[in-house]
């Protein structure tokens, strides 16, 4: 696990898929919008509080001159900004939920408190998912018992895994490495221990790895 | 009929205001009843959309004759309930008591018919769970149809039972002359409740008995 400085002030997480930068882009845009609004409002409150504090000699004539057109402005402006952000987010959301046609499919079964993974080549693994770099990968997931959620912070993606039906999560990895995997939908006692990792290998390494059909836990099979 | 008038509660200024408050309070309560049943109608809509064949097949196994009779019985009980309130307005106490008792009797007969249906369905292995008849279970959604059928008609039957008790109490109080053409709010509120229970059945009947009979 290439963990960053164990508990230093490192407030960044890797961005390891094609969609991650776009999602981060929208995130930081919203952050900027929020910072601006917060600073503006708090500054106004502080300024008014100081200038018009009880007993101050500020000019208070025409205090109740209700300029209602300002009311329309601060209805229209937020509405407009919100619609812009909505369209931006809607386009991204659609891309997140529409896998490209030719994906490498990996089958995942969530079970109370572990992830069972089955690759196309027959290779199986527990709590670890090896995926190829640079090609679209689609995880076809279902659950054996309760609702879990397959969450990889470095990919900025998560998808609930439901019993009784399949849910899918697609991504295209852009950086090799090992990224933490977490279960983010509460699923019982060891919900916090249901983590694992997603290992991104280059295309050739993945093929060579997937070809070996040694069972991951290493006990000798009779064949 | 004695000109009994309401005891004006001290927080009200006029009895007209008190009547308006009771009516508004009752209608708000009826709105919560609509939404209480509404959650079940929402579950019904969701699964009817998901399993159209299952619901059609399930509906064919309900007894449409008894269902129709029940609907007629409940609608007629709404008539007698409305006539009972009309009778009180015309100060015909004896007629009002009779009509209230007839309405209660209709309610009871509805419950009786419905109990009969449940017994019949128990024998035909139509209760969900391990006893559910396998040929029906093969069609997706049929068992869900019957799960919904028992929960929704069961909750409705519970409301009919409550209504039945309310009607008996109202009949006794009317017999004792508690109400008069100028004050009969409790009977009116009881009537509103009874009509709503009838309206719920008006929707339950086609959704369970008449999904498709072809």
């Amino acid at each position: 696990m290439n963990d960053q400085a164990a508990n230093g002030f490192d407030f960044s997480i890797p961005s390891a898929t094609t969609l991650a930068p776009s999602i981060d882009g929208l995130f930081y845009a919203l952050l900027a919008l929020s910072l601006f609004a917060t600073v503006a409002i708090v500054a106004a409150i502080v300024y008014f509080s100081v200038k018009y504090r009880a007993g101050s000699s500020a000019d208070r004539s025409d205090a109740h001159g209700a300029r209602l057109n300002i009311e329309d402005i601060w209805i229209a402006v937020p509405l407009l900004l919100f619609l812009i952000v909505f369209v931006w987010s809607a386009v991204l959301y659609a891309r997140i939920f529409t896998p490209p046609p030719n994906t490498t499919d990996i089958f995942i079964v969530g079970k109370q408190w572990m992830w069972k993974v089955q690759h196309g080549s027959g290779r199986q693994e527990i709590n670890e998912v090896h995926v190829p770099l640079g090609v679209p990968v689609r995880l076809v997931m279902t659950s054996q018992d309760v609702i879990h959620a397959f969450f990889v912070p470095a990919f900025r993606l998560k998808q609930d895994v439901l019993p009784g039906r399949y849910t899918a999560l697609w991504f295209q990895a852009t950086k090799a490495g090992v990224y933490p995997l977490e279960c983010s939908e509460y699923c019982g006692t060891d919900h916090a221990r249901m983590g694992g990792s997603v290992v991104v290998l280059s295309q050739e390494d993945y093929e060579r790895w997937a070809a070996q059909t040694l069972p991951q836990s290493g006990e000798k099979t009779h064949s | 009929m004695s000109t009994a008038s309401a005891r004006l509660h001290e927080q009200f200024d006029t009895s007209r205001q008190q009547l308006k408050a009771s009516k508004l309070g009752m209608w708000t309560f009826l709105a919560t009843e609509v939404l209480l049943f509404g959650a079940l109608f929402c579950v019904y809509s969701y699964y009817r959309f998901a399993f159209p064949q299952g619901f059609a097949l399930g509906s064919k196994h309900t007894d449409v004759v008894l269902g129709t009779i029940e609907t007629a019985v409940l609608l007629t009980s709404s008539l007698t309930m409305a006539l009972a309130i009309r009778a009180i307005r015309l100060a015909q106490r004896r007629a009002a008591v009779m009509l209230l008792l007839i309405t209660a009797a209709f309610g009871l007969s509805f419950l009786g018919i419905h109990a009969g249906e449940y017994v019949h369905e128990w024998r035909e292995h139509l209760f969900p769970g391990h006893r559910f008849n396998d040929s029906l279970r093969a069609v997706n959604g049929t068992e869900m149809f019957f799960t919904l059928y028992y929960v929704m008609t069961g909750l409705h039957a519970l409301h009919v039972t409550i209504g039945f008790c309310v009607l008996l109490v109202l009949a006794v109080l009317t017999w004792r002359g508690r109400y008069s053409p100028t004050y009969f709010t409790p009977v009116e509120l009881g009537g509103l409740y009874w009509h709503l229970v009838d309206i719920v059945w008006i929707f339950l009947f086609p959704l369970f008995y008449l999904v498709s009979r072809t």
Partner: protein, 92 residues
């Protein structure tokens, strides 16, 4: 002794008759192969019955506007709940 605000017996019986006919109609409509229109028909008939019961038996027509709004709000909120929920499974 007739109190003007009281409706004639005839009206109550007429409403009852209409309700009975609507019951017959809804049962009959189930035996006709209309496909998805079966559901629409049965809901419309039920709505008609409900309207009859509410306006006349529950005397909504004579009530203050607020009470009518309260009476209708429950059903509107029900639609607000069912429509998006069914839309979800329909577009999944």
């Amino acid at each position: 002794m007739s109190n003007p605000s009281v409706r004639t017996l005839r009206l109550y019986l007429l409403v009852w008759l209409a309700l009975m006919m609507l019951v017959a109609l809804t049962v009959a409509s189930a035996y006709v192969k209309l496909g998805s229109f079966n559901l629409v028909a049965s809901l419309l008939i039920s709505a008609a019955k409900t309207a009859l019961v509410m306006t006349l038996y529950m005397e909504l027509r004579r009530e203050h506007g607020t009470v009518i709004v309260f009476a209708i709000t429950g059903f509107c909120w029900l639609a607000l709940m069912i429509a998006p929920t069914v839309a979800d499974i329909a577009t999944r």
